[in-house]
Symmetry: C2
Subunit: 295 residues, 2 copies
Amino acid sequence: MKKLLPLLLAALPLLVGAAPPPKPPTPNEILESAPADAWQTVPAEDLMLIDLPHGQRIALALAPAFAPVHVANIRALARGGWYDGTSINRVQDNYVTQWGDGTEKKPLPATIAAKPPAEYERPAAGLSFRPIGYPDAYAPETGHVAGWPAARGGQQAWLVHCYGMVGVGRGLAPDTGTGAELYAVIGHAPRHLDRNIAVVGRVVGGMEALTALPRGTEQLGFYKPDAPHPAIVRVRIASDLPAAERPVYQVMRSDAPAFAAWVTARANRNDAFFVRPAGSVDICNAMPPVRLMVK
Amino acid sequence: MKKLLPLLLAALPLLVGAAPPPKPPTPNEILESAPADAWQTVPAEDLMLIDLPHGQRIALALAPAFAPVHVANIRALARGGWYDGTSINRVQDNYVTQWGDGTEKKPLPATIAAKPPAEYERPAAGLSFRPIGYPDAYAPETGHVAGWPAARGGQQAWLVHCYGMVGVGRGLAPDTGTGAELYAVIGHAPRHLDRNIAVVGRVVGGMEALTALPRGTEQLGFYKPDAPHPAIVRVRIASDLPAAERPVYQVMRSDAPAFAAWVTARANRNDAFFVRPAGSVDICNAMPPVRLMVK
């Protein structure tokens, strides 16, 4: 492109009086016109559905490529109905909502890994990592992998704690996160948790059911024992439901040209409202778009 | 300190078998032991109290040093009781809660600036700017000014859109933000708004009343006209209340040594939970701590 510059500059006088160049599309215009193959369907095997009272449902996309043992645990717990009847136990403002077995005493099935490895990062080799190209406070490099927000450093890659990302609660020892308690980020990205805990997925639907809740009044936002704990009625893996009952979510492919255009447009907002586009965007303000295709 | 290094190294063998060096304090330990003069009281003239139904109250610290005309407008509207009887009109998940005159038709008093200047940034000269010292996606430099999260570039400085920061809603024209509608950030910092809108303060108390609300179902998270809109019962400036009725909030001084230690500890978490401290912290994960001294 650089070689073309003098030619273009020389041509500029010819353009005086011509129509102004077309305005680049806004982020939403890019999404609306993206081709079908810019989207990937969340596999039913990776889609976990969490049913709450009053018909509320949370849909969670799992990330087995990053935390295979943890995801296998979570799938097994869902399939065994183990989460059914547990509850939301912690809502800490600007931090996390946490759910599962708040008693920490419910026996775990023998089939799951009781001491899973610390799947906090993985080899970057084999991943198609698309760098975002802007500075980051926490990682040498951030970007996207197969529709996930990620970071890379040295030979390793890891998922980052953006709004809506889901991790596995653990005790002080790294091998104590069985999947019995999960959390979703409900505030400013707590990126200091990156590489300190296993990130296993992302809320792709029903986020409001985790964010519009009363904050817990105990330390760390836990609900008081005698306060109402929203019930987890039923948790299932979508592939175990009859095909007609499976919702279908799609996430934008991070290797699609439309995604690259969308990230650029998010960094250089030209919607009528903006008087000064930032020229940059943080990884957590560039979460791959999600759409619900079949409810 | 560099000159001392060889001496210390030489002394090391003597330490073998001695007690390990004391562990540096955690962020919370630093706050608990900070001296009284590490904290500054929010002036009653800059403290706005927003009363909602059922005794809920939001406390908002105003930032006249950054947006003097907008803050004067807001104070005048509060003093005239103009906000009383308005409502919360918009709750957009992972973005903002917005309140005030949703009709956009309530007549404004003649005393306020109907077309305030675009106070989106101000000269950096005269401000005591403490750089945070870590990279940022959006600004050449971020840091703190008198207990506020800020950025600096060229000769200008501005407040940044972190969680809980409050700005003045406006139309497409920059001079349309009268103060009739205000918003607070309730999600990941929408830093692309920096320098595109007037930031006028920060929620220092009662944030839950803005975050634990049902999300609006109309475009941009506006509530449907016939959906319940939480009422703004009464808005006052604390200095107009009898002294005995004024709450007292304190914000940590960003020029206090304890604050510097706290930021360093936030960047290098050594709480027992962390297996890999980040070595860095984003400006919006280093919001100056707030405490309520008198309720």
